[in-house]
């Protein structure tokens, strides 16, 4: 007889609230469902109230782990919309921070994956080495997590040559440690037993579900925006797309760890090649009416932003699609037939990020309201509070 096991929304396993429903027959998982919406904050709506230069600070708060990916994708979208040129030096700085972020995100995931299968040594090690990347980011940008580097048309801050040179020894230790972690994880018989052949995502399924990022690359699909539609300076760097054919959890671990090494290599190349002179910001005057898209390869896969402009100083529509949204459906393929104990690591192996994904929710089972209604209500209330019928901007435009 089938039983449903609810996991969540608050449980010790993951940082974010989410609700899994595992339908099991004895030990075997026969179906899985995910309920999300706990993290929906209404960022797309907020973004319509901000000017083009303010939005990067907002979208940085979409997700704290990808706090460079979302602003980057947004800036690419705005630059696409307004045909804005980005100076060479700014591109290097953007790519540098992006790769450091990838290292931090992959090490973070490797640690959490160890924690999910009860192997806390891996967790402590990976997070200890991750501190080195955070120190580097702090050295280069001044912040550990939310870097605040992006702006349409360039970057906010310079990075000095001394700082870049100072990063080299740290990168060298980081490479040693990551290689050690990689070898230690792949040599470990316990991890091998827990991960090999578990949660296999066949290549056809990865394609059918539209899986992205390391999840698809571990199933043999070399989908990577950095190679397919190069932005930044990726076409000038020497690197390769890591793929594995097996599609199991071990392959996903391997892809992420190898990508970490690849990112360290790229970071070193960027430090060598970054021009010392030149502007970092093309200071675009305004964004003409039109629309633009930005695709960015976030640590979890392709992050997509769409921006529509009506020629004013704010986006009229801003749409975000995060990679986890596309990776969720793969659970239907990977979890079935596995045991409950393995389900945790399979669910975690796509590196789900809910705060990125939750762009819309239905509150039907909570309060009987619709989000659109709520957001319109909010605007109407404000207008009433200020005693105007139109928004201040609309009034200015009318005059």
């Amino acid at each position: 007889m089938a039983t449903t096991i609810p996991i969540g929304p608050y449980h010790p396993l993951q940082e974010e609230p989410e609700h899994y429903l595992l339908t099991v027959e004895e030990e075997e998982v026969i179906d899985v469902d995910v309920q999300i919406g706990y993290n929906h904050r209404g960022i797309e709506k907020l973004s319509e109230k901000k000017t083009f230069n303010q939005v990067p600070f907002l979208v940085e708060r979409v997700c704290g782990i990808c706090s460079h990916s979302h602003p980057y994708a947004y800036c690419l979208a705005v630059e696409d919309c307004g045909d804005i040129e980005v100076p060479e030096r700014a591109k290097y700085i953007r790519t540098l921070i992006g790769e450091l972020e990838r290292i931090h995100s992959h090490l973070l995931w490797a640690g959490l994956a160890g924690h999910f299968i009860g192997y806390d040594t891996v967790f402590m090690w990976a997070w200890k080495y991750r501190e080195d990347v955070l120190d580097l980011l702090e050295l280069l940008t001044g912040n550990r997590n939310a870097y605040a580097m992006m702006k349409p048309g360039g970057v906010q801050r310079e990075i000095k040559r001394e700082d870049l040179e100072g990063a080299r020894p740290k990168l060298e230790t980081l490479r040693e440690k990551s290689e050690m972690l990689y070898n230690a994880i792949l040599d470990d018989p316990v991890l091998k037993a827990r991960l090999e052949g578990v949660g296999v995502l066949p290549r056809e399924d990865a394609r059918a579900f539209g899986a992205l990022g390391p999840t698809s690359r571990a199933s043999g699909l070399p989908a990577d925006v950095r190679a397919d539609f190069p932005y930044g300076v990726y076409d000038e760097l020497d690197w390769k797309v890591i793929t594995r054919e097996d599609g199991d959890t071990l392959a996903r671990v391997e892809v992420r760890l190898l990508e970490t090494l690849e990112s360290i290599k790229m970071t070193e190349q960027i430090i060598d090649e970054i021009p010392d002179e030149g502007s970092i910001d093309s200071e675009p005057e305004n964004v003409p009416a039109g629309e633009g898209i930005g695709n960015y390869e976030a640590p979890r896969g392709e992050c997509f932003h769409y921006v529509q402009s009506d020629g004013s100083n704010r986006p009229v529509r801003h749409k975000i699609r995060a990679p986890t949204f596309m990776n969720f459906p793969t659970y239907k393929s990977t979890c079935k037939g596995e045991t409950v104990a393995d389900a945790t690591i399979i669910l975690a192996s796509v590196d789900p990020c809910y705060s990125c994904t939750e762009r819309a929710i239905s509150l039907k089972n909570n309060e009987d309201v619709d989000l659109l209604e709520l957001s319109q209500q909010k605007t109407a209330d404000l207008k009433q509070e200020y005693g105007v019928d139109k928004s201040p901007l609309e009034e200015v435009l009318d005059e």
């Binding site: 929304p9 608050y10 449980h11 010790p12 940082e15 974010e16 609230p17 919406g37 706990y38 993290n39 929906h40 904050r41 209404g42 960022i43 709506k45 907020l46 109230k49 600070f57 907002l58 708060r61 979409v62 997700c63 704290g64 782990i65 706090s67 973070l108 640690g111 967790f123 402590m124 997070w127 200890k128 501190e131 550990r144 997590n145 939310a146 990020c353 705060s355 929710i361 509150l363 909570n366 309060e367 989000l371 709520l374 957001s375 209500q377 909010k378 404000l382």
Partner: protein
């Protein structure tokens, strides 16, 4: 200080509640547990159930869907406990002050339920692990002056 405050201030067990945060505060809380910052020096430990917890580490601006769940967690927690609002979102909603789906901040929800619940505010977006540890230690030291 009575025996209850003394008990909490010695080895606070932490339970982590995310009410719609952006993950940044959460990873900084987890960072506190890892070798570089290591809150276990102060007896702090992340536990899996609010029934075991002395301190609820709350992050995020309290979305509509998580509010009823958070209230249930407050009811389920072993009394006495303190709530630590970690991050600007949890302290004051910060960037999300005018978002339609955020009905925080945390203090508003705890006060509506029970005025007595002590709320520690640890601002920052995200607060660094040092700040979180400092906030916790300062808060726990202040427990010496209050009766729970």
């Amino acid at each position: 200080m009575n025996w209850k405050s003394w008990g909490i201030s010695k080895s606070p067990w932490l339970y982590h509640v995310n009410t719609g945060s952006c993950n940044n505060c959460d990873i900084e809380i987890v960072d506190c547990l890892t070798p570089k910052f290591d809150v276990e020096r102060f007896g702090g430990k992340l536990v899996g159930s609010p029934r075991h917890a002395d301190v609820l580490m709350v992050t995020g601006p309290m979305t509509r869907k998580s509010k009823p769940r958070f209230e249930r967690i407050l009811e389920a927690s072993a009394k006495p406990f303190i709530v630590a609002a970690v991050g600007t979102c949890a302290c004051s909603k910060g960037m999300f002050h005018d978002a339609y789906n955020c009905i925080g901040p945390v203090r508003k929800v705890t006060e509506a339920l029970d005025e007595e619940i002590m709320v520690l505010n640890i601002p920052g977006c995200p607060p660094r692990p040092e700040a979180i540890i400092d906030g916790l230690v300062t808060g726990l030291n202040q427990l010496k002056e209050v009766k729970l």
